[in-house]
């Protein structure tokens, strides 16, 4: 079991957003989380990543058997949790190269490995760029500064490829993408899929799931996972819309 979430309750400024989430993710699996706007998908991702503005009021998150409660944001990341941001942050003055080199080497240090030398790092970066089909020289620019929506999302996938996480949570990495960018994002995920890692793909649309075939689909609604199923559930949602879920919940 890679990730196991039990009865997770989380709130911000006293307002409860997650109201008892249960979710289990095994190595080698791809899970999709769907659901209408404002139901807590991004909150769930942030809470797993350890964002301090959210208070976990009940329940627990186990990652590789360890309770995450006491781990800082960076420790969780070094343990292998990656969050692809719905809204990647612009950081003027920090180049992607410096950013990634600092990140890669801090993670290596945490694992007791020697840092990559400048040359080794550049070679690794070029190889990863190729893998995720990034041709532009994004890497010399400041992190996300002045990037188009598509560039920002591709940059998230590139970072994921650099850090090779055990668990990648991609928060609406597909929204606002044209079909080419969508294909690059999906190919990136598919190429990085391995028996020992897992993906949680948060999305609004079934479209992405034509490219990334999920093993499980969950519907998050008002802070709870109210429905789980196979990839067909995504098609059903596409057809019937979220009103169907709403009605079912009200009934």
């Amino acid at each position: 079991m890679l990730l196991s979430i039990q009865n997770l309750h989380a709130s911000i400024n006293g307002k409860e957003i997650l109201k008892g989430v249960n979710l289990e993710v095994n190595k080698g699996e791809v899970h999709a989380i769907m659901g209408p706007n404002g139901t807590g998908k991004s909150t769930l991702a942030s809470v797993i990543a350890g964002r301090e503005v959210f208070d976990v009021t009940a329940g627990e998150i186990l990652f590789k058997g360890t309770n995450l409660q006491k781990l800082s944001v960076e420790e969780r990341a070094r343990e292998g949790i990656f969050l692809g941001f719905q809204y990647p942050v612009e950081i003027p003055g920090v180049s992607i190269t410096n950013f990634m080199r600092t990140a890669v080497n801090e993670i290596r240090k945490y694992k007791g490995l020697d840092p990559l030398s400048g040359g080794e790092f550049i070679r690794f970066m070029e190889e990863r760029k190729k893998l995720v089909e990034i041709t532009s020289n994004l890497t010399n620019r400041s992190v996300n500064e002045g990037f188009s929506g598509g560039e920002k999302k591709k940059n998230e996938i590139f970072q994921m490829a650099m850090l090779e996480p055990a668990l990648a949570i991609l928060d609406e990495t597909d929204s606002g993408l044209d079909i080419d960018a969508l294909r690059i994002v999906a190919n990136g995920v598919n190429k990085l899929r391995r028996p020992d890692n897992a993906f949680v793909v948060i999305t609004h649309y079934q479209r992405l799931l034509d490219y990334i075939i999920p093993d499980f689909v969950h519907v998050l609604f008002q802070g709870r996972i109210v429905k789980s199923g196979g990839k067909d559930l995504a098609l059903e949602l596409e057809e019937k819309g979220y009103d169907w879920i709403k009605k079912e919940q009200e009934a």
Binding site: V89, P92, S95, F99
Partner: protein
Amino acid sequence: MVQLFSRHRQQIVSCDTPGMSTLRDQALESFLKLGFPNTKMEAWRQTDLTECLARGYDYPVERMPEEDTQKVFRCNIPHLDTAIIGQLNGWYVSKDVPLMELGNGIIMGSLAEAKKKYPELVEQYYGTVADSTSEAFTALNTAFAQDGVFIYVPDNVQSPKPVQLINVIQHDENLFLQSRNLIVVGKNARLSLVHCDDSYNHQASFSNIVSEIVIGDNAFMDHYKLQNLNNSSTLITTTCFRLGAAASLESHYLSLNGGLLRNNIRLHFNGPHGIANIYGIYLMDGKQHIDNQVFIDHAHPHCTSNEMFKGILDEHARGVFNGHVLVRKDAIKTDARQSNRNILLTDTAKVNSKPFLEIYNDDVKCSHGSTTGQLDNEAMFYLRQRGIGEDSARMLLMFAFADEVVGKIAIPQLRQRIEDMIKKRLQGELQICEACVLHCSTPEQPVEFYIDLSKI
């Protein structure tokens, strides 16, 4: 102070031309009227000198012995080739050659000596740029200053390498010192000047440094002011620039340490099409205080000025920024920008920022802005989510913030060294200088975090 002046008048005026002596007397009179500034005055409301002035100081009227100057003036930025001129406790350090005349007509050395040797040349400029009637510290300096540095670059001459002016304070008693610099860059000439203010020991000092800088038509000057003094030092600098037609200036104020620092920057466009970029970065902590006052007089049309001052303040540090751009009636097509941005790392650090435009004509492009805030939480989360530790993440963000200013340094070796110093400073490791400020403690060891790779 005044008694001191009358007692030592003979000594103080010894190198003056008659014209300069008159200027001294007038300046002293002005100072007596003005007195030391206090917080009731608008320009000094945020900077209180009471405590600094209350400390007792020695006032050296005699040149002090030059001890072991070779040791004092070491500067080893790798591969930075500069012509070094030094001042120890306000006096030009001569190494027996008080004034150098280079083959290309460049003169540099002691101002006191220049007054004797080139009285007409000095008199033509001396006291014409700085205002000794309404500014107390300038008046005081004009009345008392005996030595300083004189640099003259004749018309059409390009100074072949940067000149580095190292101003060192090293004394066993508290010192009050006043030095005066005069720098003249002729028409079509070019000069790059690195001006360092350092202290070596922890003794208190009060420095009142006035520099007059005249930049001729179509000339270019690249100017750096580097400040790294101990916490009991007070440094008041007044630098007055006069720019000729189509002249351009790049000025960089890099303030890394100091007890109380006040930089008065006065710039007068004396002809059309001048360009001035003035950058400042200050990193203050403890109870350090920095006050930058910039006044730009757009007296002629088609001139461009750009001020960008950025600061990071920690603990109880105080920052003050006052930018005043005056656009006169005839100065059409003026392009003036002012920006001051600050990061406060604690609740107890404080900034007063007041960019101010005074415009008397419609045909201009002016902007000003000021922001003060904390490190960006979203950016912190983003960096940490990639496995970067909290300290490194803070460092990356602070360095990136500072680097917008440091990145403007045109001399690559100097930029590299300042970047290293800033990294050390941000990590709390930069000491005041053991020797020249640029000879920061361990030059061979690059500072460990990955910042400069973008240049690969």
